[in-house]
């Protein structure tokens, strides 16, 4: 049924712009009117408005705004987009004909906003000049390009063994409290001076965690090029549902302008739970683990918007780091398996490694980057070619060595190298390393410059080497012999205090 008329002629909403003003005549116009049938838990059930469209904005008489979330035969469900308590049963509801949009642009840098773009940091409202829809179609295939450039997270394990390219979607997965958010923070902090815009989306987190994250970014100077989109744990479920789409829309604006962007979704588990909550409230039929049937589509349509655009489309990129939480390391749960299949690889955090003191607790064996290797720099790729395999072999040998059997000299050597590598791979939080530092430790280990040094001391000496790197002028393109000469010199200097 179409209830919009002009001069007796029906007007489809999509064709409103086609109205010819020459035919215009002031007169009576009919439109729809709905009424609130029920309200609670951040949603409103509305009777009427038969021509309402999904994701359309509707307005209540008290000035509140809702987002059409479900269409039923006689009722439609809407997500409340405001915290006001003025909406009551029986209140009138009207069409707005608009889609949900969020303000985008340079004014958002350094700000903390909610999914609607309203500031949460106590500063004045941003002066938006451009708006992007939260729900937008992913770039078509013709606009996309290959992942070519590396995105350095500053983490030794990730940048050397699980490389991430600009435009890649790399899942960060693991149990609660294993360091997933810390890795994402390191990645954002490491983008300083690299002309990468970062968007950190905090979904369903306690206010204390939100404040801690923001303060960490501010202390590291990363807030200048970062936008934080917050939907707290006590926010309306609709806000938690919209938060990642808001962050994606903000990043998409910059991507369309040819900029490189990095989006962190921390985390999508709570996002899925919020979506489940909304769906159950609206009496959608539950499926596996009580999630609605379109939970896969929810995350796929979000993450498919992360890509690299071709030069004809601006050449920008959007790298996504979605974070997902597992229960007791169960990778085969519903939401983790969905996201593993959507993304281009995963970084798996093992709680046993965390308990053993290996930080970051990344399980190298289960972590993979399916397309990041093509974007990795040739020097780092060559230096790290065998390290992954050697480390995995070491882990297997170490398991057998626990039986205390007499081992061959070769096996002993491998075990010694493996223990050295494990100590080198450890890294403190909020201390991202540059790509030159990665090449330094890779060459030092690969060429055996650290042999004969106890593992604990090797890490300390490497730390001193890292401190001298910025002034050395060494780059990734510097020939390997020069690197080796410098490394030998620095390691020898580092050896003098111990002599």
């Amino acid at each position: 049924m179409n209830w919009r008329f002009l001069n007796g002629k029906p007007i489809m909403p999509d064709k409103l712009a086609a109205v010819n003003l020459q035919d215009y005549r002031f007169g009576l116009r009919l439109s729809e009117r709905g009424s609130v049938a029920g309200i609670g838990d951040g949603i409103a059930l509305i009777r009427g408005l038969p021509t309402a469209r999904l994701d359309e904005l509707i307005s209540f008489d008290d000035g509140s705004t809702g987002l059409v979330f479900q269409l039923a035969k006689d009722m439609l469900g809407a997500i409340l987009l405001s915290q006001s308590q003025g909406v009551t049963a029986g209140m009138s509801v009207q069409h707005t004909g608009r889609k949900l949009e969020i303000g985008v642009g340079e004014v958002l840098l350094g700000r903390v906003v909610d999914p609607l773009g309203k500031p949460l940091d106590g500063l004045p409202d941003p002066d938006f000049s451009q708006f992007n829809p939260l729900e937008a179609a992913a770039p078509p295939i013709i606009e996309r390009d290959f992942v070519k450039d590396p995105l350095y997270t500053g983490n030794k394990i990730v940048d050397a063994l699980i490389p991430i390219g600009k435009g890649q979607r790399q899942l960060i997965i693991g149990d609660d409290g294993t360091g997933k958010s810390t890795l994402a923070l390191d990645a954002v902090i490491n983008q300083k001076g690299r002309d990468v815009r970062c968007i950190f989306v905090l979904i369903g987190q306690p206010r204390s965690s939100v404040a801690g994250t923001i303060e960490t970014l501010r202390a590291a100077g990363a807030l200048d090029y970062t936008v934080v989109v917050v939907a707290e744990a006590n926010a309306l479920p609709g806000f938690r549902y919209l938060a990642p789409f808001a962050g994606c829309a903000i990043a998409e604006h910059w991507m369309r302008l040819g900029r490189d962007t990095l989006v962190v979704y921390d985390d999508l588990t709570r996002h899925a739970q919020s979506y489940r909550e909304l769906s159950l409230l609206l009496q959608r039929p539950p499926g596996r683990e009580a999630y609605p049937g379109d939970i896969f589509y929810l995350h796929s349509r979000l993450l498919e918007r992360s890509t690299v655009l071709g030069l004809s489309s601006g050449g920008g990129s959007m790298t996504a780091l979605p974070i997902i939480e597992t229960r007791q390391g169960e990778l085969s749960a519903y939401i983790p398996t969905n996201l593993i299949s959507i993304t281009d690889g995963q970084i798996y955090f093992e709680s046993k490694l965390f308990a053993a003191g290996f930080l970051p607790a990344i399980d190298i064996g289960r972590s993979v980057s399916r397309i990041g290797g093509k974007a990795q720099h040739e020097a780092i790729k060559a230096a790290s070619a065998r390290i992954r395999l050697d480390y995995l072999q070491f882990l297997e040998l170490e398991l057998f060595a626990r039986f205390g059997a007499r081992l061959e000299a070769g096996v002993e050597e491998k075990l010694r190298h493996g223990r050295l590598l494990r100590e080198i791979l450890k890294q403190d939080r909020l201390e991202p390393l540059s790509e030159q530092a990665h090449l330094a430790w890779l060459l030092a280990y690969g060429e055996g410059l650290l042999n004969g040094i106890p593992p604990e001391q090797a890490a300390k000496r490497l730390h001193r080497v890292f401190e001298q790197l910025p002034d050395s002028g060494l780059k990734l393109e510097t020939p390997k012999p020069k690197w080796l000469v410098k490394l030998k010199s620095w390691l020898s200097e580092a050896h003098e205090p111990a002599a």
């Binding site: 049924m1 209830w3 008329f5 007796g8 029906p10 909403p13 409103l16 712009a17 109205v19 002031f26 007169g27 009576l28 116009r29 009919l30 439109s31 729809e32 009117r33 709905g34 009424s35 009427g48 408005l49 009138s92 009207q94 004909g97 608009r98 000049s129 451009q130 369309r256 302008l257 040819g258 030069l311 004809s312 489309s313 601006g314 050449g315």
Partner: protein
């Protein structure tokens, strides 16, 4: 002098002894020395000749090597020139490609920014235009204008097309028995006009309905009626909002 054979023989023996002594202690060492010296000179001469031959050989080798080196240098120089030319060509091509890519990116970016600014200007101009129009109309609005619009409302209500009349009728029939319709006007309406509106709406809805009349100056001029799920607009504020939405959709 008388020749004495003994003296003669002794003189001969003495001479022979002298010759022997000279032979043994003078002639032989001297001859040996001369032979050794001659041999040494010969050896040195041979060695010098050998060195000369070797030097000649080396000279020829060096000349040959020098010629080869010159040839090699020439080849290397030619190869280097070719490589440099090729590298230059490749690097120039890469630079041109990179510049073309950057140019393309900048063109896309400029186009995007330009479109965004145009949209922003259009939205700003639209908002300002409608705000100014609303302000102007507010000053021009009057009770008489509302009454004229109410009359127009009644005319259009009587001439509703069938589909619109059907929608309104459906909305009216869906109302409960004791429900009423709401009529909001920008200015107070006369009782006569109120009765006419109530009668017209009841006729259009196909059901006798009581009307509740209220005033809302935000409508500027005109009125708005609510019959169940159906709203009837004939006021200036909604008309301006309608055109503004048109402009937003056109953006």
């Amino acid at each position: 002098m008388q020749l004495d054979w003994t003296t003669f023989i002794l003189e001969i023996l003495n001479f022979l002894v002298l010759i022997w002594i000279l032979q043994r202690f003078l002639y032989r060492p001297v001859l040996d020395l001369l032979v050794a010296r001659q041999q040494k000179i010969g050896e040195q001469s041979a060695q010098a000749q050998a060195m000369r031959d070797e030097a000649e050989t080396l000279r020829r080798q060096y000349e040959s090597r020098l010629a080869d080196w010159r040839q090699e240098c020439e080849n290397s120089r030619r190869q280097l020139t070719e490589e440099l030319a090729l590298l230059k060509t490749q690097e120039m091509a890469n630079i041109k490609q990179a510049l073309a890519g950057e140019e393309e990116k900048m063109q896309v970016r400029n186009a995007t920014l330009l479109a965004a600014r145009e949209a922003e200007l259009l939205r700003s101009a639209t908002g300002q235009a409608y705000d100014e129009a609303a302000a102007m109309l507010k000053r021009l609005a009057s009770k008489e204008l509302t009454e004229r619009i109410a009359g127009l409302f009644l005319e259009d209500l009587a001439a509703l097309p069938e589909n619109e009349r059907g929608a309104l009728s459906k909305a009216g029939k869906a109302l409960p028995e004791n429900a009423s319709m709401t009529v909001v006007s920008a200015h107070p309406l006369d009782p006569t006009l109120r009765a006419a509106i109530e009668t017209g709406l009841s006729a259009a809805a196909g059901k006798t309905l009581q009307a509740a009349f209220t005033e809302d100056p935000m409508l500027i001029a005109g009125l708005c009626a609510i019959v169940g799920e159906c709203q009837l607009h004939v006021n200036l504020a909604d008309e301006l909002a309608f055109f503004k939405r048109q402009t937003d959709h056109a953006r």
